[in-house]
């Protein structure tokens, strides 16, 4: 490894050759020059240094490191079209030798990098016609969606906007032609909108009365759904407790000591548990009672987490008659609002 510290450039000039011309004449030499901006001998300004580096980069190689730790060289021409690498090189001075490679963003794996290099190398050649370029692009895009997503993430992180635009269009075509379920499968995104999709509150920028009332109704409905879920959970817990008691009983029965006492104790346990359960269910019923009114409360915006509840049932049944009556009344009002919002020119 050549240690190219300050004296070296001067040695070359002494030999009658400038470092730049040497690099130009021998591109394969992989000259790793590192110009130190500080120091009295080197009076070049920051811009000149940057320009020098760029010029050198064009004809020399730059060391980079992909996300798996692998260090490799890339030709200078690639660096000049890749804003991120170029900027990093100028800013940190890295990339000139194997020990100091420029670290690439984590989205860039070696396989993806080679694809990107393949793309850039083709387009950098001035000799290709527009038709050739277009057919190359089409071929390049004919790959599976996984790879396209990897490519676009990597290209975006490297700030290669033409490539990002190209892949965006390809992915947009894929999205266009797929249903939402297919999209979720292809892109492996979670279906975390189910409840909100159906019950999303409308934004109310100017505090429209109708929208406010509609939001209140939606909030009530959402709350009821939550209570239903809690009810379900309570029932589940009940079952579990029962299970445990049976097991305990079995153990106790199988156990030798103090059978009767344990049985009595467990009986008492069961009774007390039953009492507790009754109390719980009555408290749940209390919650179901719609006397607790929330007037003028706008439901939280989508960003707050209500908990992504996966309700398969849309219609929730209420045992409480009072609630039903009110719900029917609200439904009537809401239907009216919905009609008004949908058909603005009802007048």
């Amino acid at each position: 490894m050549l240690n190219l510290s300050r004296p070296f450039p001067y040695l070359l000039t002494f030999l009658g050759r400038s470092p730049q011309s040497l690099a130009a004449k021998n591109p394969s030499l992989s000259i790793r020059l590192q110009i130190r901006p500080s120091g009295p001998q080197n009076k070049m300004s920051g811009n000149e240094i940057a320009l020098n580096k760029t010029q050198q980069a064009k004809s020399s190689y730059v060391w980079i490191q992909t996300n798996d730790g692998l260090i490799q060289q890339v030709e200078g021409e690639f660096v000049t079209v890749c804003p991120l690498i170029h900027r990093e090189m100028l800013r940190t001075g890295l990339g000139s030798c194997k020990n100091n490679p420029i670290p690439l963003p984590e989205q860039v794996s070696p396989a993806i990098l080679s694809s990107i290099l393949h793309y850039c190398r083709f387009h950098q050649v001035p000799g290709h016609s527009d038709k050739e370029r277009k057919s190359f692009d089409e071929k390049f895009m004919k790959t599976d969606t996984d790879r396209l997503v990897e490519l676009i993430s990597a290209a975006h992180s490297l700030e290669l906007s033409p490539l990002v635009d190209l892949i965006s269009r390809a992915i947009a075509r894929i999205i266009e032609g797929s249903s939402n379920d297919e999209i979720r499968e292809i892109f492996r995104v979670p279906d975390d909108l189910t409840e909100e999709e159906k019950l999303e509150p409308l934004r109310n920028p100017t505090n429209n009365l109708y929208i406010r009332l509609l939001n209140q109704h939606l909030a009530r409905k959402r709350k009821n759904m939550k209570e239903q879920k809690e009810l379900k959970n309570v029932e589940l817990e009940k079952k579990q407790e029962d299970k445990r008691t049976v097991e305990e009983l079995l153990e106790l029965i199988n156990g030798k000591d103090e059978d009767l006492k344990c049985v009595r104790a467990s009986k008492c346990k069961r009774k007390s548990k039953k009492r507790k359960n009754k109390a719980q269910s009555s408290s749940v019923n209390y919650l179901n009672c719609p006397d607790v009114k929330e007037v003028g409360v706008l439901p939280p915006m989508r960003t707050s987490d209500d908990g992504a509840e996966d309700f398969s049932c849309t219609e929730t049944e209420f045992d409480d008659d009072l609630d039903q009556e009110k719900m029917r009344e609200n439904d009537r009002i809401v239907a009216e609002f919905a009609r008004r919002l949908r058909l603005i020119d009802y007048r």
Binding site: Q107, I183, L193, L343
Partner: protein, 321 residues
């Protein structure tokens, strides 16, 4: 493969920026279902990068001209279609729209106007050349909500002062006005009285009276850009019967205009646009010419450019189905 461990992470963290770039390729109708895929996708669907300009310049009303006010009759289906489109746009954009562009044959009603003003209160630019079915109350209410309005393209109306007053009252950053139609003293004085801070004024392809032009040049001290290209400059507006006397841009006008940073004018007999103006006797019949013709302006900040991807030709077709 060494990168299998990274794939899981990559999926969940597909950057919003990347998603936004992809969604920018889709139109409004395609974006609606996409916004229901998952939470992060919904957020990306309403990004300002996609919605900063809502260009409905390809949407026209199905209308006929009538003899009585408002001289336009639009069929109900057309109105409903507009409502549907606006509803989708407002829901998806989530208040991120800063520019709205409408066609000169899109005759919207007060209801539509109040809807878009409520759901896009941060609007900065409005291009709406058709006010036939909009009432004074309706437009003033909308202007009141649009406090950040900076640029307006409007048709020539009979009594402009009320709108100018409303703008000066509500829109503190208002600086650009484009008028399509006839520009007389009435208009000129309304602007001079209420919109002293106006920086850009375009009257291209209109009829202007010489008096009005001079008034503007004398009284608008903050005017930096004035466009009177292809205008028919008249001595006075013709009352019935009398033939209109056309005027030229004489030295007095040119001298007064010299203080304005950018003065666009064109009164050439060889210019296509000027020829069209003469042929149409000053009231340019935009519908006879190319799609993009009415969208042009010599002033770069007023020129409308391409339609963008949000509402393309296929959107109109898919909606009429």
């Amino acid at each position: 493969m060494a990168d299998t461990k990274f794939i899981g992470k990559r999926w969940e963290e597909m950057e919003t920026d990347v998603l936004v770039k992809i969604f920018k390729e889709l139109n409004m109708i395609q974006l609606a279902p996409v916004s229901r895929v998952c939470r992060s996708w919904r957020l990306a669907c309403s990004d300002p990068f996609i919605w900063n300009t809502l260009d409905l310049g390809l949407l026209q009303s199905n209308f006929i001209q009538t003899r009585a006010s408002p001289y336009i009759w639009v069929d109900e289906r057309s109105d409903k279609r507009l409502t549907r489109i606006l509803r989708v746009a407002m829901a998806l954009s989530r208040g991120n729209i800063t520019s709205m562009i409408f066609h000169f044959n899109l005759y919207m009603k007060d209801d539509h106007l109040s809807y878009i003003s409520e759901w896009s209160p941060h609007l900065r630019r409005l291009v709406m050349p058709a006010w036939n079915r909009i009432t004074k109350v309706g437009i003033c209410q909308a202007i009141r909500i649009w406090e950040n309005l900076e640029s307006l393209t409007m048709p020539s109306i009979a009594h402009p002062p009320y709108i100018m007053e409303e703008i000066s009252r509500s829109c503190k950053n208002f600086s650009q006005l484009k008028v399509m139609g006839t520009f007389d003293m009435h208009f000129a004085s309304a602007i001079a009285t209420n919109l002293q801070k106006l920086k850009v004024l375009s009257l291209r392809c209109s009829i202007i009276t010489k008096e009005a032009l001079l008034y503007i040049l004398n009284r608008m001290d903050n005017l930096e850009v004035l466009n009177i290209s292809h205008c028919l400059l008249l001595e006075a507006l013709a009352t019935s019967g009398r033939k209109q006397v056309r005027s030229e841009l004489d030295q007095s006008i040119l001298q007064k205009a010299s203080r304005i940073r950018e003065f666009f004018h064109c009164q050439s007999s060889s210019c296509t646009t000027c020829k069209r103006m003469i042929e149409d006797e000053g009231l340019m019949r935009w519908y006879r010419y190319e799609d993009w013709f009415w969208r042009r302006d010599e002033v770069s900040t007023l020129d409308l450019g391409d339609y963008g991807k949000l509402f393309g030709k296929n959107c109109v077709n898919s909606l009429t189905a």
